[in-house]
Amino acid sequence: MKILITGGSGSGKSAFAEDTVLSLGEGKRIYLATMYPYDQESYKRIDRHRAMRSGKGFETRECYLDAGSLDLPENAIVLLECMSNLAANEMFMPEGAGDQTAEKITEDIQKLSQKVRHLVIVTNEIFSEAAIYEGDTRAYQQTLGTINRNLAAMCDACYEVVYGIPIPLKGGAA
């Protein structure tokens, strides 16, 4: 089962994603953390997420680039969070995929999903606001938008979480 979960900032998408993983039954639960910590605010964010996950049986592994090359057990139930960070890493880190990010990540996720039992991906809605961006930010929005569409097409189910309420966009129950 491949499930894509999207939503805005502070929407409760992580909590829903964790519950979704728990509902997928037994297996080796692995959390792929994609946010590269670069300041105090990121460490606080990481701590908050760690506290939320504690007691749910996740092993945390860092995944800043190359999600397709990870070595994972076949019975793994993987929660990858968050695609918005992975996309930024691939786009802007010197060793990343740069302007090939959308294609690279789409392929990587395809590979990753074939290695594991279930894959749940959290992504982010950053597309609805009045501000118009230029340059890197605009390219980033376009890249993440493309990735989200590609992932939704390959996933069995897709949800948007609005203030903790899951709205099914594709597929049935998780």
């Binding site: 502070g10 606001e129 203030y163």
Partner: protein, 126 residues
């Protein structure tokens, strides 16, 4: 509790007032904490959260406080979490706070309606 949410300028206020014509509404732009905690309806709740934060207040227990003091309130609130992460730290704090507070309120609410183009879609009703 009931929430009417959606982007800016989507007709949330008109929708709310049409649904509850007799309710007394206060405005998040100017209402005091006392008014917020006893109002029948609150418009632009996000503005109240913004004022609290600008004032240096901690809003991490605001949802609990409102649920406790005013469990039957009807409120409208903008969804503000759908853009690129803001460069400004206060703007980041604001948009995340609106999300966190509203997620708790939505868990408590019997009904949540999302208004887009003036059209309300009920996304939760228990």
């Amino acid at each position: 509790m009931e929430m009417i949410i959606g982007g800016a300028f989507q007709g949330k206020k008109d929708f709310a007032k049409a649904a509850y014509p007799l309710l007394h509404w206060c405005d998040g732009r100017e209402a005091s904490e006392e008014e917020i905690l006893k109002a029948g309806g609150i418009l632009d709740f996000q503005e109240y959260i913004r004022r609290c934060l600008a004032d240096g207040q901690d809003v991490s227990l605001l949802a609990e406080k409102l649920i406790e003091a005013n469990p039957d309130v009807v409120l409208t609130c903008d969804e503000v979490g759908y853009g690129v992460v803001p460069m400004d730290a206060f703007e980041r704090q604001y948009r995340e706070a609106v999300g966190r507070v509203c997620t708790k309120l939505a868990a408590h609410s019997a009904k949540v309606t999302r208004v887009i183009c003036g059209i309300g879609t009920v996304i939760k009703h228990v």
